[in-house]
Structures are given as structure tokens and as C-alpha cells.
């Protein structure tokens, strides 16, 4: 398994149980859909799977490493090399051009790859935005901005791509195109892809769908 979560629990003060013993696993190249009502704990789970947050209890293995036992200071490097995130909207740094946004993860790599800009250009080309390279986010449509975010999530070649309602702010036509693109690109690269969505059509296209209810996986 590339990704393995066991008994993942997240409690917040005042007795909020955002997650309550979630088990989940995904094989390399698998596409997993997560569905569920708002507040059911989908984002919380995704953040924990992506090493952005830590569970109160339970453990997560990513690519053979128990990331829940990894020191806090080592987690940025795990995110940098193994995880790509796409959020619902406002994924981009507004002062940077599309190309610079895509190159951002490469900036934090040590040592810094010599062909960083070439890689970023290739990633932008893969999402069909070569002609928008030097535009800043404000000059791009919502769909284009999400495509830049996808290029950035993929530029480092992470083993795991996590998307949290990536089409939630788009019209249905654009949303469908974007999802097709994401599925194609992750499939081409053999990446494991976990996507949170409300759209049953998207769910139907996944290898497997889990449904969350009140912080638990609904059977």
C-alpha cells in the first residue's frame, strides 16, 4: 500500500470529534473518492493524510514511512517530495506568475534542481497553459487558476496527490474538464489520487469511494 491510515482520530477542544477512528488504504495508482456532507471530516482527513495536520490518535503510513511518528521538523520535506495538494480555490500566490507558482515547490527543494524552470514549463504545458506562463493569478480565469494549481501539485512528481473539492468553485462544464485532466495526469504518472468531492459523477469515475458521516467511514 502506498497510503495506509489506521484508527485515525482527531479531537478538538469542546468535545468536537472531527475524525473518529478512520481506516483507509490506497494502492499505488489508485483513485479514491471521499464523499460526505459538509462537516463530516473530509478536509480534516485529507490534511492528516498529507502530513499537514497530526491526528490525536491513530497512525498513517506514506510510502512505507510512518509519518505520524515522524518529527514535526521533517514533515515539510515529506510534503515537498511525496505529496501534492490542490485546494478548492485561492491556491496561488497572487504576486507570482503562473510559471513562478508552478516552480514554487522546486524553490524549496535542497539542493535546488538546475532545470527547475524547464520542469515548471513542462508541467504548465501538460495542463495546456503554456501561453499563460507570465500571467499573474488575477489575469487568469478560475478554471485556469486550478489548472496552474494542478501543474504545481504534479511538478515534483509526488507519489500522492490530494485534492479537496478542486472543482467546487467552477461551473459544471469546466469542472468536468478539470477532473478529466487530473485523472489523466495522475494515471499517466501512476500516482495515487485521493479526491474529496460532492459530485456523484466524479465518484463514479473513481476506483473506490468512501463516504464519511460524522467523522467515521460509512460502510
Amino acid at each position: 500500500m502506498l497510503l495506509e491510515a489506521r484508527g485515525v482520530t482527531k479531537h478538538y477542544p469542546m468535545g468536537v470529534k472531527a475524525l473518529d477512528g478512520v481506516d483507509l488504504s490506497a494502492a499505488p495508482g489508485e483513485i479514491v473518492g471521499i464523499m460526505g456532507r459538509s462537516g463530516s471530516g473530509k478536509s480534516t482527513l485529507l490534511h492528516i493524510l498529507g502530513c499537514l495536520d497530526r491526528p490525536t490518535a491513530g497512525s498513517v503510513w506514506l510510502d512505507g514511512v510512518e509519518v505520524t511518528a515522524t518529527a514535526e521538523a521533517a514533515l515539510p520535506a515529506v510534503r515537498l517530495r511525496k505529496v501534492g495538494f490542490v485546494f478548492q480555490a485561492h491556491n496561488l500566490v497572487s504576486t507570482l506568475t503562473a510559471l513562478e507558482n508552478v516552480a514554487l515547490p522546486l524553490r524549496y527543494l535542497r539542493p535546488r534542481p538546475a532545470d527547475a524552470m524547464a520542469k515548471a514549463r513542462a508541467a504548465l504545458a501538460a495542463v495546456g497553459l503554456s501561453d499563460r506562463m507570465h500571467h499573474v493569478p488575477a489575469q487568469l480565469s478560475g478554471g485556469q487558476q486550478q489548472r496552474v494549481a494542478i501543474a504545481r501539485a504534479l511538478v515534483n512528481g509526488p507519489a500522492l496527490v490530494l485534492a479537496d473539492e478542486p472543482t467546487g468553485a467552477l461551473d459544471s462544464q469546466t469542472a468536468r474538464e478539470l477532473l478529466a485532466l487530473l485523472r489523466r495526469l495522475t494515471a499517466e504518472r501512476g500516482q495515487t489520487f485521493v479526491i474529496v468531492t460532492h459530485d456523484p459523477m466524479v465518484g463514479a469515475a473513481c476506483d473506490r469511494v468512501i463516504t464519511m458521516v460524522d467523522g467515521q467511514v460509512h460502510p
Binding site: G50, L52, L80
Partner: protein
Amino acid sequence: MEALRNLRRRSVRTSLTVLGIAVGILAFTVMGGMAEKINMIIRGSEAYFAHRIAVRSAGGSVRLNFLQSDDIATVRQVSGVQAVETHIMLPMDETAGFELAPRSLVGIDLENFQRAQALAGQEAQLRLWQGNWWRPGDREVAVLGSAVARRMKLKVGDPLLARGARFRVVGIIEETLSLPDGWAFIPQEDARALVLEVSSTVPGSDVPAFATNAYALVNPNEGDAVTDEIATRLRRGFLLYSPQQLSKAAAQASTLLNTAILGSGAIAVIVGALSIINTMFIAVAERTREIGIKKAIGASRWDVTREFLFESTLMAIAGGLVGVGLGTGVIYAINWYTRDQGTPVFIMTPRLAIGGVLFAGVLGALAGVLPAMRAAALDPVEALRER
């Protein structure tokens, strides 16, 4: 570059912050220019006195104790003393003592003076800028320090009028930016006549050969020992200054002055740095979402810290450059307006300029520390919930 673009995006705020630093560095530079001038005077005096033990009258209102020829002979006989240079020094006019480079008439014996020049160090040597020294035996002639020449608008060939006497200017000395700039050298006999003219009580019997100041020329490292020896041999009523004592006193004075002057300039810069802290905290608050994204991508705490530190340092260095530029302008303007003083009031030096910019940069980096640490400490999940 991202940092520059961030600064430009909030250009009004950035400009005001940069201006705050610039004003501080301006004050720092101008005050530093004053300190540099004082340092120059102190360094010049130190160089001048490095090879000299100064012997001066201890004063007293009833009887001014001039150095007589047998006093000079006593000093000369002390072992370690290579020569004794004698001056007859008197203020050029009643108010000259309050000037930036106090103007004095300095009576010298040419031969005696030149021997001392040869024995003193390179740094203490006075070089002619124009004209020549007078020939032995000439009277009513003068060689001027640069500040005297400039202030009194005198060229070689002009007459110098001082204390009712008239001297023909035969030479002008290169600017030293220190005390000799305010001196006008005249033949010892002329100076002696001027002193006798105003002295109601003729000092002692040895009228033809007295001096107000004497300098025993010695090896700099023997200063203290020879000074002690002179003190035991010479009659009472004189003050002795050894080179070591003088340089210790000079070092103390210059440390004190530099601290006081630069310290007050530094306060101005620190006030400017506070505005950087403020600006950077606002920037962190505004860019919470951006910080969350960068952390989600994999930026480490240090990556985030560095980006904000870089921005604050950049702003401060910009302020430093503007401040040093303005300060240099102000210094040149003040010196231009006060040029009839004969000597610059402020001195702009490379180390002052570099120091000003570096100081700004260091303060900018320090000012960025707290805001950058706050940015680095943001919880990415919470940061991503913004906007």
C-alpha cells in the same frame, strides 16, 4: 523577484517605512559626519604629538611662566630627547579661540622647526600646498594653515593682518583637517615682539629667548620614561604631556564622543526600525493564506522566516541607501554654506557611508525577526482557512 514585488504591491506603506529608516539614517550620517570630523582632529593631534613631549606653562593669573632658554637647555640635556622644538603661540585675535579651527599665530625658528619635522613621524609632517617657507632671517612673513587662508581669503603674496601687525603670506600648508589648519606660522622674533608689546610684566630677565610651548622630540615608545625624567629636572610651573598620556586621553575622548554622537543617531534609526516591525506584522497578517499555501507545498519554517527577513532587510537597506544619500547631500550643503569657516564642519567618509547602510540592514533584519517568526509559526491548516 518576489520580495520586490511584495514591497511594490503595498507601495505607499513601503515608501513610508523606507522613508522612516531614511530619516533615521540621515540623522545618523550627519551626526556621524560630525564625529568623523572630531575623530580627524583627535587623530591629527595624536599623530602630531606621537613623537613629542609637550611642555607648557602651568599658567596662573599673576605670573605667566614662560619657558626660558635655560629651561630649554635642561630639557635638551635629558637623555632620550633628540631635539626641542619651541613655539611662541598667541591667538590671532580676541575671538579666534572660539572658532572651529582656532586661529593662532605660531612663532617658530625655521631651522629648529624643520629639524623637528624631520624627526617627527610621516603622519605629523606639514607639507606646503602653495608657495615656500621664508628664508632664514626674513621678518614679517607668514606661512598659513589651510583654514586660516580660506577663512581670511588669503593667497600667497597677500598681506596677513593680525594683532596690529602685517605679515606677507609666502606659503600655504596642505589641509590636515586638524589643528595646524588654524595656525599661521611667523618668524619667532616677530611673535616675541608681539608678546612683549602686550605684556605689562616682562617675564624674567631672559627677554630675547622665551617660548610659550616646547616639544621634546623622542621615540614614541620612550615617551613616559623621558617625561618623568624631564619632570624631575625642570623647575616647577610647567605641565608635561607624554605621547602615551595624550593618546590615552585622546582615545578616551574619542570613544566618549563617538558613543554620544553615534548613539543619538542610532536612536533615530531604531525608531525607524520600529516602523519596519509594524509594517512586517501587517504583511504577515495580510498574507496568511499565502503562508498556508507555501507550507502545504513543503516550505519549512526557515524557508518562510527567510522570505520575510529578506523583505524587511531589503526595505531597511533601501532606507539606508536613501538616508546615506540624503546625509551626504546635507553634509556637503552645510560645508558649502560654512566654507568661510575655513574648515569643514562635517566629514563624509567611506566607512560612515558603508556603516550607515550596514547598520540599517542589520536593524532591518532584526526588525524582521518577530514578524517572520510569527509567519513561520502559523499552523498551515488554520492559515489555509483564511479567505
